[in-house]
Every structure is written in structure tokens, then in C-alpha cells.
């Protein structure tokens, strides 16, 4: 079900300020409709790599192409259009505490200018589906960690993105909830969304046999599903 590449990294490097490069010579491609895990030890650069994917910052060298566009060459007012095609689940959720669960999930639709009637319908359906039907008007500070994560995931997928980027989405979940969430991602992937999930959860990786991007000290290796990552790769 995979097609042309919607993500292409070529010789990409990233450094913060004048510091050393945290990502070096990153080169990979994600075909449309693919599903990948992103793994690596803490501090290996997973979150930095994802931040390049969802256009939170520009790379310091190399080229990134998203949906066929060289993003560094795009004018600033074209970036929102690209970002609307990317759903992001942040590691720290980044929910807006003053807004209800409904308004948090509605954010990407409001930003994109959808009519309120359609927003209400879609948000209600999705929140009920993720098990928050009784918490529609609850604000994030009154929700549990798992419920916040569900709101964050619902916000990421409400806009039916072409690319879903998730940073440790099952971090606060028990195995049963994590498996349920993974089934949601797989279902989205089956409907055409390209998915990349950063995780430490080896059990999850074993249960869902998808290819793996593995970061070691800022360098990336690409491995097929079920591959054993060689320690020798670590520099």
C-alpha cells in the first residue's frame, strides 16, 4: 500500500546554536502509506529528528523534502499548508490548559477554517471513540495522564493528516491501552496515513512488525521489520 516518498531526508544535519551536531548526515525516505518506528537511546536525537519532520525548526544542513516540497525553499506563508498535513503527538502532550478537551481537539480544524457544525460533529465522534465521551468539557488539569494522552492523540488525528508523527505516544499507558492505541495508529495507516512513532517500548516493536529507524549518537540506520540492531553501529 506504499507509494511515492512523502518524506525525504538527504545529508541532513542539526545543531543547536554553536553546539556540536545532534543529528549528522541523516538520510532516509518514508514512502506514502508506510509505518515506521523510530528508536534509539535517550539523547540519541529522536525528538530532534521528529521536530525537523513536523517543521518546528529548520535543519542546519542538507535537504528535507516533505510531500514533494523542499521545505527550506518554501516561502513562510506556505508552511501552514504543509503543517496541516502533519499530525503530531508530543511527548509532553502540549495541551492548552485553559481549553476543554473538545476545544483542544478542535484546534487543528479551527485553524484550518472548518465550520463549527462540522468541527462539533467530528470532535464529538472522535472523543467518544477514544473513550472521553464523559469528559468533553473537562480541562486538561482535571484529566489523568492517560486521558491527556488520548486528547493529544485525538488532536493529532482529527484533521486526517497524511503524516502522523508521535513521540513516545504510549509512554504513560499500560500495555492494554498501548495496544489499543497502536491499533488506532495501524487503522489510520491502513487508511493511507504515513506513520512514524518514536518509542522505547521493545514489546510494542516486537508486537507490531514494522520497519525501524534507529538513531545512535545522531546517526541514523534503517532496518527492516524484525531486524536485530547491531551494536557495532554505535559509534
Amino acid at each position: 500500500m506504499t507509494g511515492q516518498n512523502i518524506v525525504e531526508f538527504d545529508g541532513v544535519g542539526l545543531r543547536y546554536g554553536q553546539g556540536a551536531e545532534v543529528l549528522r548526515d541523516i538520510a532516509f525516505a518514508l514512502p506514502e502509506g508506510s509505518f515506521h518506528f523510530l528508536t534509539g537511546e535517550s539523547g540519541a536525537g529522536k525528538t530532534s529528528l521528529l521536530s525537523l519532520l513536523y517543521l518546528a525548526r529548520p535543519q542546519t544542513r542538507g535537504q528535507i523534502r516533505l510531500f514533494g516540497y523542499n521545505v527550506a525553499a518554501l516561502p513562510r506563508d506556505r508552511l501552514p499548508e504543509i503543517r496541516r498535513s502533519i499530525g503530531v503527538v508530543f511527548q509532553d502532550f502540549r495541551l492548552l490548559d485553559h481549553l476543554s478537551a473538545t476545544d483542544n481537539v478542535a484546534l487543528p480544524l479551527r485553524v484550518a477554517g472548518y465550520p463549527e457544525s462540522e468541527i462539533a460533529k467530528r470532535v464529538n465522534e472522535l472523543l467518544i471513540w477514544v473513550g472521553l465521551g464523559n469528559h468533553l468539557n473537562a480541562t486538561p488539569p482535571t484529566l489523568s495522564g492517560g486521558q491527556k494522552q488520548s486528547v493529544a492523540i485525538a488532536r493529532a488525528v482529527i484533521n486526517r493528516p497524511r503524516l502522523l508523527v508521535a513521540d513516545e505516544p504510549t509512554g504513560n499507558m499500560d500495555d492494554k491501552s498501548a495496544a489499543r492505541l497502536m491499533r488506532l495508529f495501524v487503522e489510520l495507516n491502513r487508511r493511507g496515513t504515513t506513520v512514524i512513532i518514536a518509542t522505547h517500548n521493545e514489546g510494542l516493536i516486537r508486537s507490531f512488525p514494522f520497519p525501524r529507524l534507529h538513531l545512535t549518537n545522531g546517526r541514523l540506520g534503517v532496518y527492516p521489520a524484525g531486524a536485530v540492531i547491531r551494536e557495532a553501529f554505535r559509534v
Binding site: A56, P80, R83, R84, H98, D103, L107, V111, L136
Partner: protein, 298 residues
């Protein structure tokens, strides 16, 4: 179910309620200044309309052996009338009757026997033909030669001085209004920039979900407009009792000068527009400040 709330948690802004207070002061001064300028100009325009093309000739009372010689004074007045009526460019020259004189002086001195005892001069009300180029200096000399006790008051002189004074006051008012507008804009810019800094993580999130700068700028424009209106309305309302008090105080002064300072419909509408203009100014300033600041981000 959907709250009509902003995506940005503006209630956390420490400086948020500083803006209405400042706008209240600014609108108060702007309304007071504008009202002053409008009433001054309205007064001047009425004076100008009623006095242009007119002049007054005054015949001071003659004294013979320490007593007022009304007969001689009247002869001089008639002589002056004859001179005026023969002068080209003069449309009419009319001697004011005793009754008219008393009516004119009544608001200033009061009625009754006092006026009968005063040595009142004779006054001639002169109307000039429109566009006629009457040589007023020559007329003054001629009158002085024929009627030594006659003096001529060309209203143009003091009206001209009054116009010059009004123009200076207008300039001063414009300067004050410019200062008020600039100060309000600077305050809005300061509050907006401070708020942008407080809400940087939320703004980044909005950008990452695909928001254009204008989506965020519109939210700021609404917020600053609302805060400005919260200050502008009381600022405007506080001026009203002051204006009413001044107006009734002026109306109490008889004599036909200050009582003419009234606001027409256009002036009233302009005054009522001031709080709305302050709101629009705050909204637009916030909008363009946000656009300008966000342009520097990715």
C-alpha cells in the same frame, strides 16, 4: 458546547488590565481636547458669519459746560450717517435707537434707571456690500474730519486676532491628539509584545497545527480591541458630566458670546466615535505588531 474563547490564555497576562486604564485616560483627554476644539471653532464660525461684512461707528457723547449735549451728539450722528450713506460699497447704515441700545446693554449692565443716567454713545450699524472694496482707512479719516467724536470699529481686526488664536489652539489640540494616539499605540505595542513573549509556547503550538500568522494576529486584535473598549467607554463617559457642567456654566453667561458655543450633529457624532476609534486603533496596532513579530519566527 463550544466556548467562544481565545486559543491563547490571555487571562494570564499580567499587563492585560493595564491597557484599559491607560486607554481610559487617553480617551478622556482626547474627548476633552476634541470637544474644546470643536466648540471653539463653532463659536468662531458663528462670530465670523455674523460679523464679516459689518462695521460699527460710534459717536461719543459731546459735553458742553460739563453736561452731556445730546442734541449736538445727535447732529454728529446724522452727519456721520450722511457720510456713510454716500460712501460707495456701503449697503446700509442705521442708527441704533435708544431702545435698541438699552436692549444691547441690558445683559451686561442690567435694566432700569441706571441706563437712563449713563452717557451712552450713539451707534451706527453699517453693512458692507459683498465683494465691495471699500477704502476703510479713507472712510475713517473722512469721518474723523467731519465728526470729531466718531470712532470706527472694524470687527475684522479683533476677529482676525481671534482667528489666529483659535488656529494656534487648534494646532496645540492636534499636537495633543497626536501625542495621545502615539502614546496609545506605543502602550498597545508594549502590552502585545509582552503578551507574545508570555504565550510563546502556545503560539508555537498554533503554528505547528498549521495556523497562519494572521490567525494569531486576529486573536490579539480582538483581545486588545476588547481591552481598549473596556477603557475607552468609561473614559468617554467621564468626560460627559464635565462637558455638561461647562455647557450649562457657559449658557449661564448672558451676552451672546460664549452661549453660542454649541455642538452640531456632526460634532456630536465625532465625539461619540472617539471610543470606537480608540478600539479600532488598539485592534489594528495589535494586529500589525503580532504580524511583524511573528514574521521573525520559522
Amino acid at each position: 458546547m463550544f466556548r467562544k474563547t481565545s486559543d491563547l490564555p490571555f487571562s494570564k497576562d499580567a499587563l492585560g488590565w493595564f491597557l484599559p486604564f491607560m486607554v481610559m485616560l487617553m480617551v478622556f483627554f482626547a474627548t476633552l481636547t476634541t470637544a474644546g476644539t470643536l466648540s471653539l471653532n463653532s463659536m468662531l464660525s458663528r462670530w465670523s458669519r455674523s460679523l464679516s461684512g459689518t462695521l460699527t461707528v460710534q459717536i461719543l457723547p459731546f459735553e458742553t459746560d460739563g453736561r452731556i449735549d445730546r442734541k449736538r451728539t445727535m447732529q454728529e450722528a446724522e452727519e456721520a450717517l450722511a457720510v456713510l450713506r454716500k460712501t460707495p460699497g456701503i449697503a446700509s447704515a442705521n442708527l441704533l435707537t435708544d431702545r435698541q441700545m438699552k436692549e444691547l446693554l441690558k445683559p451686561w449692565i442690567g435694566g432700569g434707571a441706571v441706563l437712563d443716567d449713563l452717557p451712552l454713545p450713539y451707534l451706527i450699524d453699517v453693512r458692507l456690500m459683498p465683494d465691495a472694496e471699500t477704502d476703510l482707512d479713507m472712510l475713517r479719516t473722512l469721518l474723523k474730519n467731519r465728526t470729531p467724536n466718531a470712532t470706527m470699529d472694524v470687527h475684522k481686526l479683533w476677529l482676525g486676532k481671534l482667528i489666529a488664536l483659535t488656529r494656534r489652539l487648534d494646532g496645540l489640540a492636534s499636537l495633543l491628539l497626536t501625542l495621545v494616539i502615539t502614546s496609545t499605540s506605543i502602550i498597545v505595542i508594549y502590552v502585545t509584545i509582552s503578551s507574545l513573549s508570555v504565550h510563546k509556547p502556545v503560539i508555537e503550538l498554533l503554528h505547528l497545527t498549521g495556523a497562519h500568522d494572521s490567525y494569531i494576529a486576529v486573536q490579539y486584535a480582538r483581545r486588545m480591541g476588547f481591552l481598549a473598549f473596556c477603557g475607552a467607554l468609561p473614559g468617554f463617559l467621564f468626560v460627559l458630566p464635565i462637558l455638561m457642567t461647562l455647557s450649562s456654566a457657559v449658557a449661564g453667561i448672558q451676552g451672546g458670546l460664549l452661549a453660542e458655543a454649541r455642538f452640531d450633529l456632526a460634532a456630536k457624532m465625532l465625539l461619540c466615535m472617539i471610543p470606537l476609534l480608540a478600539t479600532v486603533l488598539a485592534s489594528l496596532t495589535a494586529f500589525w505588531t503580532v504580524r511583524g513579530m511573528l514574521r521573525r519566527l520559522l
